[in-house]
C-alpha cells in the first residue's frame, strides 16, 4: 500500500507545476498602514497539473485570502506566488483560469443566457461560439428552462449554478472553486462533485475550498489544511485519512455460524474488546440522490433548478460531434439527465471498489492462511474453500450493487 502511494506521488511530482507558493504571506493593514491582521503567514505549497486539491480550514484561516491572491485580487505582502509560472496578475494567464467565487456576484438584470454571454465575451469568443457554449452550459447546470429569466429572480442555488457555468465558459485548465456546493441542494452538490471528478479525468487542475468536509473528501486527491494563516496539514487524501492501525472487511451478510468462525479467527489475533461487527451505512447524500432520481423517473415537476444535463460538449474535448450532441441532448430528455454522468462515475467507482475488494480479499486470505492452525489442515482447507466461495459470491453481488445504483436501497 505504502509503495502504491509513493508511486502515485512520484508520477504526480513529474507533472508541471500550476501553482507555486513559497513563503507566501499576506498582512492586512489599516488606513495608517499599520499591520492589522496576518491572514496568511509564510506558507509553502505546490499544486501540480491534474491535481484536485482541497483547501480546508475554519473561518478566518486564510483560505479565501489565498484564493484571492491566486487570482490577483489581492497582492502578497511577502513570498513568491506563481500561477503557470507567471504572476497571478498576468492577464494572458487568465485565459486558462476559471473561478467560482464564494458568493456569485451577478448583474441582476441580465438573463441567464446574457450573463454567460457577457462572461464569454470577456474571453473574446465569437458570437457563434458563445451561443454554443452558453446553451450547452445552461443545459449542463440544469437551467436551460430558465435561459431567458433575469438572474435577479434566481434562488441562491440557481445563481450558484450560473456561477459554476461561467467558471467553465473558457474550458479552463485550472479551476478555482470557492465553496462550490454552498447553497446547492444535495442533487446539485452531487453534480458539482461529479463535474469535478470529470474535470480531473480530463487532466484539469482544481482547487476547491469548502466547509463541507465530505465534499472535499470525495473529490480531492490532496488536501491542505490551514489554520491561523499557516498550513497545518498537506498531503494525499489516502495518506492523511487511512487509519493504518485498523482493518475493515466488508462482505455481504453472512450466516451466523460463518460470522462466528471469522470472529474466532480474528479473536486469536486481537483481544475481544477491540473487535466490532456491524452493518455498513450508505451516506445520507447517496440515499437522498436515489430518492430524487426515483422521483424524476416518475416525472415530478419542479419550478426550481432541475438536475443538470450532460456535461457541455466543448468541455468533453470532443468537438467533432456537436450536431450529434445537440440531437442527443434533445432526445435524452426521457432519460434522467444526471444518470448518464452518474452511471459513468459509478462504473469508475465500481471498478475502483472491485480492485480494493480484491486486494482486501487477498489480504484476508493471506491472513487467514497465516493464522489457521496447522493440524486441522483438511478442515481448514474446506473452510477456506467455503469462505472463498462466499467471497466470490459477495464480490459478484458487490459488483452488481455498484453497477446498478437503483438496487442499492434493497
Amino acid at each position: 500500500m505504502a509503495e502504491a502511494v509513493k508511486t502515485t506521488e512520484k508520477s504526480a511530482s513529474e507533472r508541471p507545476v500550476v501553482v507555486s507558493a513559497i513563503g507566501l504571506t499576506k498582512v492586512f493593514r489599516d488606513f495608517w498602514n499599520r499591520p492589522k491582521a496576518k491572514a496568511v503567514n509564510d506558507i509553502d505549497f505546490e499544486v501540480r497539473e491534474g491535481e484536485v486539491v482541497g483547501l480546508l480550514g475554519p473561518n478566518g484561516s486564510g483560505k479565501s485570502t489565498t484564493v484571492k491572491m491566486l487570482l490577483g485580487l489581492l497582492y502578497p505582502t511577502g513570498g513568491r506566488l506563481t500561477v503557470f509560472g507567471k504572476s497571478p496578475r498576468d492577464v494572458e494567464n487568465k485565459k486558462l483560469i476559471g473561478y467560482l467565487p464564494e458568493e456569485t456576484y451577478l448583474y441582476k438584470y441580465l438573463t441567464a443566457f446574457e450573463t454567460l454571454d457577457f462572461f464569454a465575451s470577456l474571453f473574446g469568443l465569437s458570437k457563434e461560439e458563445r451561443t454554443r457554449r452558453c446553451d450547452q452550459l445552461l443545459d449542463m447546470v440544469g437551467l436551460a428552462h430558465a435561459r431567458n429569466r433575469p438572474v435577479g429572480e434566481f434562488s441562491k442555488g440557481m445563481a450558484r449554478r450560473i456561477g459554476l457555468a461561467q467558471a467553465m465558459i473558457n474550458d479552463p485548465a485550472f479551476l478555482i472553486l470557492d465553496e462550490p456546493t454552498s447553497g446547492l441542494d444535495p442533487l446539485g452538490c452531487r453534480e458539482v462533485k461529479d463535474l469535478i471528478k470529470l474535470l480531473k479525468k480530463r487532466g484539469k487542475t482544481v482547487i476547491v475550498t469548502s466547509h463541507l468536509l465530505s465534499d472535499v473528501e470525495e473529490v480531492c486527491d490532496r488536501i491542505i489544511v490551514l489554520y491561523g494563516g499557516r498550513i497545518r496539514a498537506n498531503g494525499g487524501m489516502e495518506d492523511l485519512l487511512t487509519i493504518r492501525t485498523n482493518d475493515t472487511i466488508t462482505v455481504p451478510r453472512l450466516p451466523e455460524d460463518a460470522l462466528e468462525r471469522i470472529r474466532q479467527i480474528v479473536r486469536e489475533s486481537v483481544p475481544d474488546g477491540e473487535m466490532s461487527v456491524a452493518h455498513p451505512h450508505m451516506s445520507l447524500e447517496d440515499f437522498f440522490v436515489d430518492i430524487v432520481n426515483e422521483a424524476k423517473k416518475e416525472s415530478l415537476e419542479t419550478s426550481g433548478s432541475r438536475s443538470g444535463g450532460a456535461i457541455a460538449e466543448y468541455l468533453t474535448g470532443d468537438r467533432e460531434h456537436d450536431a450529434k450532441a445537440v440531437l442527443d441532448s434533445l432526445t435524452r430528455e426521457e432519460e434522467t439527465p444526471a444518470q448518464t454522468l452518474a452511471k459513468k462515475m459509478e462504473e469508475d467507482a465500481a471498478k475502483a471498489a472491485e480492485d480494493a475488494a480484491k486486494k482486501r480479499r487477498d489480504d484476508l486470505f493471506a491472513k487467514l492462511q497465516a493464522t489457521a492452525p496447522a493440524p486441522e489442515e483438511e478442515e481448514s482447507r474446506q473452510a477456506q474453500q467455503e469462505i472463498e466461495a462466499k467471497m466470490s459470491e459477495a464480490n459478484r453481488k458487490l459488483k452488481d450493487l455498484l453497477t446498478n445504483p437503483t438496487d442499492r436501497k434493497d
Binding site: G72, K95, Y99, S121
Partner: protein, 477 residues
Amino acid sequence: MTAFLAIVKLTCRSAVRSHIFRLLLILLLLSIFLLPFTLLGDGTPKGEVQIFLQYSLGFVGFILCLSSVWLACSEVSSDVETAQIHMIVVKPVRRAVVLLGKYTGVVLIHLALLLIAAVTVYAFLSFRLSSADMTEDERLMLDEQVLTARALYKPVRPDFNALAQAELDRRIASAKEHGQDTFLLQNDQTRREEFLEIRKELIVTYGLIEEGDSLFWQFEGLPKDLTEDDVIFLRYTIYVNRFYVQDQNSVRGHWIFAANYTRPDDNGGETVVSDLIATPEEDILTAAQNEITVPIRNSYFVYDGKAQVGFLNKDTNTSELNFEEGRGPFLLIREAGFFSNYCRAILVMAVGILSVTLLASAVAACLSLPIAIFFSAAYMLTGGLANYLVSSIPDVADFQAEYTGTFGYRFGDLMLNLIVPLQDFFVTGHLANGELISFPFIGLLFAKDFILRMLPVFLLGAWIYTRRELALVSKRG
C-alpha cells in the same frame, strides 16, 4: 475588442436601470418642454427666443453633466464595492479596458440623450417660430441678432503698462527738474508702488467720458473680405460714473464711426480718407446691453481689417459716463448660420460630457461611491468659484491691490490652471446672443480642458485602478 464592447453594452444597460438616472431623465424632459413656459423674457420675440435657448439648453447641459457624474461614479465604484468586479477582472481583460469600457458606455448614453434633447429643442424652437405672431421688424431683429452666428471683435486694449511707465517717468523727471526730494526718488520699491497706483488709475479712468468729451476705440483683425451685404453690429453697455451701478437710467449721446486712413487709389496715388459719421443723438439705457447696426458702408468704414468707433457724451444730468473694461463696445459680424452655431453649441456640450465623465470615472476608479461623488461635485464647485473669483476681479493681479482681492484672484487663477470650470461648456449665452462659437474656440477648449487637464487625471485614475487590490474593498466580501 469583444470584451470592450461587452463592457460598454453592459454599462449602457446598467445605466438605464439606475433610478437616479431615470429621475434625471424626467427632469431633462421637463426642462425641454415645461421650463420655457415658466420664464418670462422682455416681452419681445427676440427676448423669448433668447430665454428659451439659454435656459432650455443650459438646463439640458446641466442635467446631463450631473447625470454623467452620477452614472460614471456609480458604474465604476459600485462594481468594486459589490465585488462584481471580481468576476470580471479574473477574466483575461485588462482593468484599463474595463475602466475605458465603462467610461465609453456612460459617455455614449449621454451623447445619445444630448442628441435627442438637441433635436427636440431645435424642433420645438422651429415650431414656436413658425407659429409666432410678430412684426416684420421683430422678425428681422430676431434673424439678425439671435438666429445667426456673429464673430465678436473686441477693441484694442491700450498698453496700460507703457502708459503708466511714461507717466511715472514724467513725474520723476518733473521732480528732478524741480529739485524735489520726493519718495519717488528714494528706492525701487516706492517707484514700483507708484507705478501700480498710476496703472490702476489709468485702467479705472480709461472708459470714463465727461460731458462733451468723446472716446475712440480702435478695432483690428476684422474680416477683409466684407461685402456691402454684410451687416456690422455694435454692442455696448454704458454705466453712469466710475462705480459699477446696476441702476438703469437714460442718458444721451452719439456713436461716431470714423473713416480715418490712407489708401491707394486707382491712379496709383494715395487717397486720404478722414470722415466721421455719427448716429443721431438719442436716449440710451444704462447698465443694459444695447445693440445698433453700423450705419455706414462697410467698404468705407473698414479698411485693412481696421476700424474706429467713438462715443460722444451729450448727457447733461450726469457727471461722466463709463465704458467698463471688458464690457464693450464690441463689433459683431455674421460668419455662419444659426443651425451651424447651434450644432457647435451642442458640440461644446458634448466635450463637456466627455470631460466630466472622464473626471468622474477617474475619481471613482480610486474612491468609494459617496466620496467619488463628493469629490467630483467639489471639483466642479471649486471650478465655478475660481471662475467667479477671476472674472469678478478684473486685472487685480496686475494691481496687486488689496490683499483679499489678490489672494482671491491668485487662488482662483491657480485653481483655473489646475481644474476645469463647468461653465466652460455652457455656451448657450453665446448662442442666445447670436455670437459665433468658432471651431478654434472649440478646439482650444478640447485641448485645454479635455486633453491637458482631464486626461491626465483619468490616466492617473486608471493607473491606480490597475494596481488596486480590488478584493480589499467589498461591502459583501
